[in-house]
């Protein structure tokens, strides 16, 4: 019965995940505090072709969007499949976590997570090749994210040509 009551107040979709930004300037406690107050979301698994306009349209469904920062390949300066969405209020960001996380944008299931706040430089991928780290190691073929993962591409075309 207690368990049922607790279940009533459960709001697990807005819980902070296990992910912590390794480049965060500050300690774990500070990062968690920011995550718990944040109105900024990280959005991942985007197609490289997903536009700012599409992100706006979707995320505006949970409240007024203050700013969108599209994640860029550090070398090519082109979209590399993630972005930040900043709301004016935390309540709006919470609703995005509850109702947009795990649904589709541009035909792909997107993933949202709390972010401690955008800082200049964080819009760049941290993978060795310039994109996101996840695109370095993945082995599947994803046409919307540059085809094969970077390592797999190098393995498949040892001369170093890129494949799509």
């Amino acid at each position: 019965m207690s368990a049922q009551l607790n279940a009533l107040h459960s709001d697990s979709y807005i819980d902070v995940s296990q992910y912590r930004d390794q480049h965060f300037k500050g300690n774990r406690y500070e990062q968690e505090k920011l995550l718990k107050q944040s109105s900024t979301l990280y959005v991942g698994n985007l197609s490289f072709y997903t536009t700012e306009e599409q992100v706006y349209e979707l995320f505006a469904k949970s409240g007024d969007v203050k700013r969108i920062i599209i994640g860029l390949d550090k070398v090519k300066k082109t979209a590399c499949g993630f972005c930040f969405v900043e709301y004016y209020t935390r309540v709006d960001a919470e609703n995005a976590m509850r109702f947009l996380n795990g649904t589709r944008l541009d035909d792909r299931i997107i993933r949202t997570d709390w972010d401690a706040g955008f800082k200049e430089g964080r819009q760049y991928g941290r993978g060795k090749s310039g994109g996101q780290v996840r695109d370095e190691y993945r082995q599947d073929y994803d046409p919307a994210r540059g085809g094969y993962g970077k390592l797999t591409q190098l393995q498949r075309a040892p001369e170093g040509r890129h494949k799509f």
Binding site: L5, I14, E53, Q54, Y56, D64, I68, R98, F99, D106
Partner: protein
């Protein structure tokens, strides 16, 4: 004390309850207060499990009479608190729980009847809002499916009298609000009934059926031999708390009906609209959503595991209740996007059946667009396009080929157009071209590209050379001052030659600068926002007058008229950076230039977003003022408590002085913001009245029917302003009635105002 019983599976429900009652009884000596608290919370917050917990309380009462008495007292205390705190839905659940406790032999039936009699007495109170007496009547009627039989068996004379008084009340009460709250204006195929009328019909039918009710799960029946040995308690006499100005009673509702037994051809039959089963099922489904809306997977699972689901076409009930909430007027109980996410989860859990019911519902709603309220059509468009975007936009568009045969301003083609526009916003233009059959191309939205006035092919235009100059200046990183200097040379088509300075409103200056700037920044939202930020000073200077603001908006529309989403975000940015103000946006929307787009959804999204920004701004400053006042009060308390050293007093006097000054400033800010807010509503309402009056007068003299598609759209947009911002508008009722909604107004327009007044009357 931890409780880990699963009270879901009915097969072992009785043994679970028996076991739980045993455990709790043993814990009573040490944990009585905690148990009381938990049980009270359960009564208030888990209404869908009502009868399970009343049975539990019944078993506890049978074992421990004193505990039963204390629980009843705690419930009454809770009921008083919820009523005083405007928590009216929770209060209903408490009343229902108390009613069901009669079935569990915890409360004596006559004392429950007495409470209901006191509730019904509220009908006689003078000078109260109707919504107050409505609530007390509702609380009685909505408990009867659970406890009507028992109360009637014990006190039939009193119950008859009660019901007769309610009958009289229902016949005399005002129902001006009903047209404003109906999703469909048509009575066929299903009448959209006022909620008390519907409930009354259901109770009447229940009474005719001699209170036989077979849907509700009643675990206490299995324990009858134990429970009937228990001693019952009498409810203390309960006087409803008197009406106060701060009371906010629930608004009336219209019951949403879209399905009947003919729509679910196979399987169990759907209970009729006036059956009490229908009421109970819908109540329970609403309660499940209220409990679990934040967790869509849990919510979907709970809905689909509704007890007794094998006897009803559950998917149809779920879909109907969900759309009922989504389309509820004035506003849905929860944020719109929740319903989209929930329906997707339901489709995932029941892939073989739910999508078909959903498609059937969509088809039905499409067929009935002609009589659907415009606000509800908006929500239908938003839901449907977002839903489709999760399913690769797959839809049998060919089924809707009939919409191509009528004028595109008619509801069906208009709906398809708006859906395709929203689908495009979530994807891209070519995708939309690809997903619809070729004959639908007239309904496809325009390619969202920039329209530049000063392209090479227009070199003969007066502003062309200046546009080139400005463009080069911007590319060479000119500062705001440099741009302003460059713009000084732009001739003013409005001005006389000897009228000098060139600082007044100059439409050509605005046009040349803004067209050129937005052209350079057309690549994305971010580019355009950067441009607005970089040249904020120039823009503020150009938009200094009301005419300037209006012209800025006009130019934005001109260049981006194929990209309504861009217009929306630019208008939003310009309001937030104070390049234009809310009243300018309202005037622009109602201006001649916007006549062509006046019935398009995006225009109203902009207006409502503008009004919301204004409201949030006022609330923000009001909060700041409250916080400052609280701070001052705290400081003054501290002074009173400590109060010795002269030095300390002097310092705190200074602090007080600063705070008082801040409070004065904030007070001024609040008054100024409220004045701006009132003015915004006045502008909006005034323009509506002008437009509608003109149309009505024109039709009268020409002898044509005034009820055109445009008129329906316009009058429902006026309703929408009232509905979406009813809380804020309430404070300006006096001004609105004195200045605008006077008796001289055409009665069609005045009717909308009267319906609105009926909402909290």
């Amino acid at each position: 004390m931890s409780v880990h019983f699963d009270l879901q599976s009915t097969s072992s429900l009785e043994s679970n309850l028996e076991g739980l009652a045993g455990v709790l009884e043993a814990d009573l000596p040490n944990y009585k207060n905690k148990i009381l608290r938990i049980l009270c919370s359960v009564a208030r917050q888990l209404p869908e499990k009502l009868t399970i917990y009343t049975t539990l309380v019944g078993l506890l009462n049978a074992r421990n009479y004193n505990f039963g008495g204390e629980f009843v007292e705690a419930m009454i205390r809770q009921l008083k608190e919820t009523l005083k705190s405007n928590m009216f839905s929770e209060a209903v659940y408490l009343v229902r729980f108390l009613g069901d406790l009669v079935n569990c032999h915890v409360i004596a039936a006559p004392s429950m009847v007495a409470m209901f009699e006191n509730f019904v007495c509220v009908i006689q109170e003078d000078d109260i809002p109707q919504v107050r007496s409505d609530w007390y009547v509702y609380a009685v009627l909505s408990s009867l499916p659970w406890v009507g039989k028992e109360l009637y068996e014990k006190k039939d004379v009193e119950m008859d009298r009660l019901l007769s008084q309610i009958d009289g009340y229902l016949k005399r009460r005002q129902k001006t609000h009903v047209p404003m709250l109906q999703v469909w204006t048509a009575e066929k195929p299903h009448p959209q009934e006022e909620y008390l009328d519907c409930l009354w019909a259901q109770i009447q039918k229940l009474k005719k059926d001699r209170w036989q009710e077979r849907h509700i799960l009643r675990p206490y029946i299995a324990f009858d031999s134990v429970l009937c040995e228990a001693l019952q308690h009498n409810l203390p006499p309960f006087t409803p708390p008197p009406h106060s100005e701060s009371a906010v009673y629930p608004m009336p509702r219209v019951i949403f009906r879209m399905f009947d037994y003919t729509d679910a051809p196979e399987g169990p039959v759907m209970p009729g609209s006036h059956s009490v089963e229908r009421f109970v099922i819908e109540e329970n489904l609403h309660c499940i959503m209220k409990s679990h809306w934040k967790e869509r997977k849990t919510c979907a699972a709970q809905l689909l595991s509704y007890p007794g689901k094998s006897k009803i076409p559950l998917n149809y009930h779920i879909v109907e209740v969900i759309f009922g909430e989504l389309f509820q007027l004035p506003l849905p109980p929860h944020i719109d996007v929740m319903y989209t996410a929930l329906l997707i989860e339901l489709c995932k859990l029941q892939p073989g059946s739910l999508p078909q019911v959903l498609a059937q519902a969509t088809e039905m709603m499409y067929m009935r667009l002609d009589t659907m309220n415009t606000t509800c059509i908006d929500r239908f468009v938003t839901w449907f396009s977002h839903h489709l975007s999760n399913f690769q936009f797959r839809w049998s568009w060919d089924d809707w080929v009939d919409c191509l045969a009528v004028d595109h301003d008619k509801p069906k083609p208009k709906f398809v157009k708006e859906v395709l526009e929203k689908c495009m916003r979530l994807s891209y233009h070519q995708r939309i071209v690809d997903i619809v059959p070729a004959n639908f191309s007239p309904l496809i939205p325009a390619d969202p590209i920039f329209t530049f006035k000063y392209g090479e092919e227009n070199a003969q235009l007066p502003g062309y050379p200046m546009s080139i100059t400005v463009s080069n200046a911007i590319k060479n990183r000119a500062s705001n001052e440099e741009i302003l200097a460059v713009l000084k040379d732009v001739p003013n088509p409005n001005q006389e030659d000897d009228d000098d300075e060139g600082d007044g409103f100059n439409p050509l200056k605005i046009e040349v600068f803004l067209q050129t700037l937005l052209n350079l920044a057309a690549k994305s939202f971010s580019h355009s926002f950067s441009a607005l930020a970089k040249f904020h000073e120039v823009l503020k200077s150009l938009s200094d007058s009301d005419e300037g603001k209006l012209h800025v908006l006009r130019v934005v529309y001109e260049v981006w008229r194929n990209h309504p989403q861009m217009i929306s975000v630019l208008v939003d940015k310009m309001i937030r950076t104070q390049i234009v103000d809310c009243a300018a946006v309202a005037n622009w929307i109602f201006s001649q230039d916007m006549t062509h787009d006046f019935t398009r959804f995006y225009v109203w999204e902009i207006l409502h977003s503008t009004i919301r920004k204004m409201n949030k701004h006022v609330q923000k400053i009001q909060r700041e003022l409250e916080e400052a006042k609280e701070k001052l009060e705290k400081q003054q308390h501290r002074k009173k408590d400590s109060g010795d050293e002269e030095d300390m007093e002097k310092n705190s006097d200074e602090e007080d002085g600063q705070l008082e000054e801040q409070i004065d400033r904030l007070q001024e800010k609040v008054e100024s913001a409220q004045s701006e807010q009132k003015n915004l509503f006045l502008v909006v309402f005034q323009r509506f009245i002008m437009m509608l009056t003109e149309h009505l007068a024109h039709c009268e003299t020409a002898g044509t029917d005034f009820n055109t598609a445009w008129y329906k759209n316009c009058i429902e947009r006026l309703q929408q302003i009232f509905l979406m911002h009813h809380g804020t508008i309430q404070q300006y009722m006096g001004t609105l009635e004195d200045l605008l909604f006077t008796a001289e107004l055409d009665h069609h327009i005045l009717a909308v105002y009267r319906q609105f007044c009926g909402l909290q009357a």
